[in-house]
Symmetry: C2
Subunit: 276 residues, 2 copies
């Protein structure tokens, strides 16, 4: 296949490197600024620097930019995308994005399949990309209304890139689950480090501080876009979390050790039922 | 030194193993149930099984049981503790415990120094103890009113056991910081897994879910004691966290991407200022 990757950041760079490492596909890279493309070419992550004309021979187009930028790229280049091309995004939210990209696919004759690789780092950019970033990570495929053959093509590529589980979900299910599994930890990490005691933590902290605060070193422009695009499910999850914090707080205030232990013990029950 | 360790769980077992691995001290173990003592003796974590009479020849007594049980052990055996003995606890909270143990020390003539090793696991008991559990971990020493020589003795032992930073704090400072660095992540982990979406997370989660939920597999009877003993600082931190969650939630609801990004960006600023 000719695979065009739009966006040479950590995700695009890692996709390119993984495709070159684990498959025989030919990879074109497209990026707004030239430096990451130069680096990608030099290290063999891509075979060639592409441009919008390259889309005419693309069997697959992988969108690895922010959600709005991904839609804009397709809008601006839709007439050049080969009709047999499967377009996949890599955005962290799906409802709005999938709807708009599916509509463009219908209009211009190519195929769209939603895709979300559940991997990342606290740093961004091509320099931190790596071929094995996705190794063992969950891959969520959001088929929308794409034909089976296109969905299979995506699933087959994903497996070759060493992802772990591959799950299929509707855009709404994806967004509801992602609000919980990925967005809440990011909201939380920021809220946690906003405490006035954070700056004094050294000498007093261990693994728990490190784990909860890790993703507070956030890419604010990306995540503000992701949070607002997923407003309703995310606000629901924040409310659920606050309610549960209040429930534990009330038991602490009451001061009955047995009653508090009963509430906390549910955490153990849930984790053990999940085999974690 | 003759060191007596009371409590052969993960902390007592790891202290014993570390002392035998990294120092020449002679270690006695005391425990309510005999099995962990038998195991500790077999693997060389202790030199001998001790009893309350052993306290007469102890140069150091390390309390490695739950807070209330630690105080009770000293209360019940105070008259047997050698007057030149330095007693240290390993509890996760200090204000109440240190006050009571300092008072017993004054009354019976031995010395008390508070100590909190910032290490642990999601599992408990002697079987998961290890000599290098504390390797690189923070050690908090709470001198209370102990003489310099006793505090130095504790600090010197702690350094030999391969702890990382050693910090000194008052009981109140310790408890305020621990509410933030250690207790909040445990409250949070439980509150987080109480969401109805938790049980469905597989296939949709990555490192963020794993990190925030890790300590939800909680020892409920220990932590309910620690939380209630540290009620005021902990409730304050929970309130701070809820306020900060609401602040982010309100920005998400307003939907102004730039304003939300400004708030989130503070997370990055704080983490980077800490060099994290």
């Amino acid at each position: 296949m000719n695979i065009v990757i739009s966006g040479m950041g950590i995700i695009g760079g890692s996709m390119a490197k993984a495709i070159k490492k684990y498959t025989d596909n030919y990879v074109y890279g497209i990026n707004r600024s030239p430096l990451p493309l130069k680096k990608a070419l030099e290290c063999g992550a891509i075979d060639e620097i592409g441009n919008s004309d390259t889309l005419e021979k693309a069997d697959m187009l992988v969108l690895c930019t922010y959600p709005e930028a991904s839609v804009r790229f397709v809008e601006e280049n839709a007439d050049k995308i080969n009709k047999s091309c499967v377009v996949i995004d890599t955005c962290g939210i799906k409802s709005g994005i999938c709807q708009r990209l599916s509509q463009l696919a219908d209009e211009y004759g190519f195929t769209f399949v939603g895709f979300h690789p559940m991997a990342g780092k606290e740093k961004n950019g091509f320099d931190v990309s790596e071929a094995d970033l996705f190794s063992g990570a969950n891959a969520i495929i959001v088929p929308c209304d794409a034909p089976h053959s296109a969905v299979d093509k995506v699933a087959s590529l994903v497996k070759k890139l060493r992802f772990g589980n591959v799950v299929f979900a509707s855009p709404e299910e994806h967004d509801r689950m992602i609000a919980y599994t990925s967005q809440i930890p990011h909201v939380l990490a920021c809220a946690y480090v906003f405490s006035p005691n954070c700056v004094k933590h050294k000498g007093f902290s261990g693994g728990s501080y490190r784990d909860v605060s890790r993703v507070a070193n956030i890419n604010a422009s990306l995540w503000s876009e992701l949070f607002i695009e997923n407003k309703e499910p995310l606000v629901n999850e924040i409310d659920t979390l606050i309610n549960n914090l209040n429930k534990i707080k009330d038991e602490i205030k009451k001061g009955d050790r047995e009653e508090l232990a009963k509430v906390l013990h549910q955490g153990k029950v849930i984790k053990e039922a999940l085999g974690e």
